[in-house]
Amino acid sequence: MANDVLVFGEMRGGELKKVTKELINTARTITEAGGGAIDALLIGEGAAGAAETIKDYGLRRITVTEDEPVKNYSTEGYAKVLTDIVQDHKPSYILVGATAMGRDLAPRTAARVNGVMFSDCIDVRMEDGICVVRRPVYSGKLYIELAREGERPTFISIRPNNIPPAEATGDGTEIVAHSSGVEADMIRALVKEIIPLSGGRPDLTEADVIVSGGRAMKDSSNFKILEELADLLGAAVGASRAAVDAGYAEHAIQVGQTGKIVNPKLYIACGISGAIQHLAGMRTSKVIVAINKDPNAPVFEKAHYGIVGDLFEIVPLLTEEIKKIM
């Protein structure tokens, strides 16, 4: 109907992803201006339990599906459920997190329902009844604003950590169980297991704080000083492409245009000169601290706070100082 919104609540490891409440807030932006109701769909193990955590968020209906073939994520299983719900409830907008799951599921489903998709949006607003999204292009070197042409199911993936999470309104919701209708043989690409990255630190795209190292780290073993600071702050550890290419860090933790695009509350860049491709990946961080020997390093143009000097002296001191106030 008119401006009904479906929020896809992503389940991982039995838990509802944090981005879901950011999606609910985005959905409110749409319905408050254009009318319409907000529904949510949770697929996966623990969905019914997780639905309770967003029960008081003023939704019209929460649909939960957790039967065996969709307990864990698969593109084809989840795309079938999402397609069925979209065809049944006919939402105008479908919001997903711009996560590994959302970026895989949404375009596939959009194709199935003859929709349209806007990827990796950082802002959604209503202008004269038209939904306008803003998204970075060229890895954050520019932004574009877009709107859809014609009426069709519109999938919008929202980057985590950009839009504040919704607050509960106290209005209860109906929770409806839905049978997936997925048979095992419909899933041609099956997830056999999930292999966690070592370290147990938060993921770069979800972390509130990131401590990152560049070429000046000189060796992979030197990342230990960044890890100590990171663990104190509950932070993720990142690296520049220069550090990854030099073999000091794994690509899994690379920040930048050919790595992760991040926007934590605090980004501490250690020995990173600030190549365009790195800045493109972290410039939206709320507070950027640069530690670098070279006072002319481009990273200082994007940083909010800087300190010129040797990171091997500064980082351990920083860890000590922060310990004192915690």
Binding site: R108, E149, A189
Partner: protein, 263 residues
């Protein structure tokens, strides 16, 4: 085995990107264009698979793009791809992933395919949609953001890892399948001099939409770009100084706590 690798022409990651005077796109003058970074991993993985499977396996590059994309296609041929299909038609609106996917689907069906490799996203529009829409159009499974790939002995299945938050999913898939590649999947080879010489003789089949029997592929426009915007300028950097390093660090922590409220 018929191996397809998709390729896009895009600005180099080191390029400074500015909005053009009309405000309708980017300034292309002076910008260096390359194979969209992640597509290089796709070409490399295709070549490795061909080498493994042997026999009459063949790697065909399929590219939707302007005339200038020929240069990138030649690079892939010089790396070792066998031939290429270049769909080049000014009527194709590349900002519409549904159109790009429909054109690719037709060209790939015409060619025949067992497996398709592409980059996890293009490094210009960063949409990461075409491969999943294409998979739906071809009715085949998809595995996005692959960090490892192994084909089964029989060649009809593959085991992959795909990157997710905080780890990897281990996926077993049937063929045919489309796989989008993440950096780190492999180390793309450089084109050798003999490779470059050979590439000059390899066939690039250039096709317009009419050649694909798709005169009206520009039909369904689903989105419009309203505005191009520069990114906001960064604030002034407050460089913290002190009598000595420990004092400066102390001051930094105070600022982060009291002023920035980031600690």
């Amino acid at each position: 085995m018929k191996i397809i690798t998709l390729l896009k022409r895009a600005p180099d990651t080191e390029a400074r990107i500015l909005i053009n005077r009309e405000g309708t796109g980017i300034q292309e003058e002076g910008v260096k264009f390359v194979i969209s970074t992640y597509d290089e991993y796709a070409v490399e993985e295709g070549l490795r698979l061909k080498e493994k499977m042997g026999g009459d396996s063949k790697v065909t590059v399929v590219c939707v793009g302007p005339e200038e994309a020929t240069e990138m296609i030649r690079t892939a041929l010089a790396m070792g791809a066998d031939d290429a299909v270049h769909i080049c038609d000014p009527a194709i609106k590349e900002s519409e992933p549904f159109i790009t996917a429909a054109v690719l689907a037709k060209a790939i069906k015409d060619n025949g395919f067992d497996i398709i490799f592409c980059g996890k996203q293009a490094i210009d529009d960063d949409m990461a949609q075409v491969q999943s829409i294409l998979a739906e159009m071809l009715d085949i499974p998809q595995v996005n953001v692959a960090t490892s790939f192994e084909i089964s002995e029989s060649g009809d299945k593959a085991v992959l890892r795909r990157r997710i938050e905080g780890g990897d999913e281990k996926v077993e898939t049937q063929l045919p399948v489309i796989i989008s590649c993440e950096k780190g999947l492999n180390e793309p080879r450089y084109a050798s001099l003999p490779g470059i010489m050979k590439a000059k003789k390899k066939e690039i089949r250039t096709k317009a939409l009419a050649d694909l029997g798709m005169a009206d592929a520009q039909g369904e426009i689903r989105s419009k770009i309203l505005k191009w915007l520069p990114i906001p300028k960064g604030g002034e950097c407050k460089v913290v100084e002190g009598e000595d390093v420990p004092t400066a660090v102390k001051e930094l922590v105070r600022l982060l706590r009291e002023e920035a409220k980031a600690l």
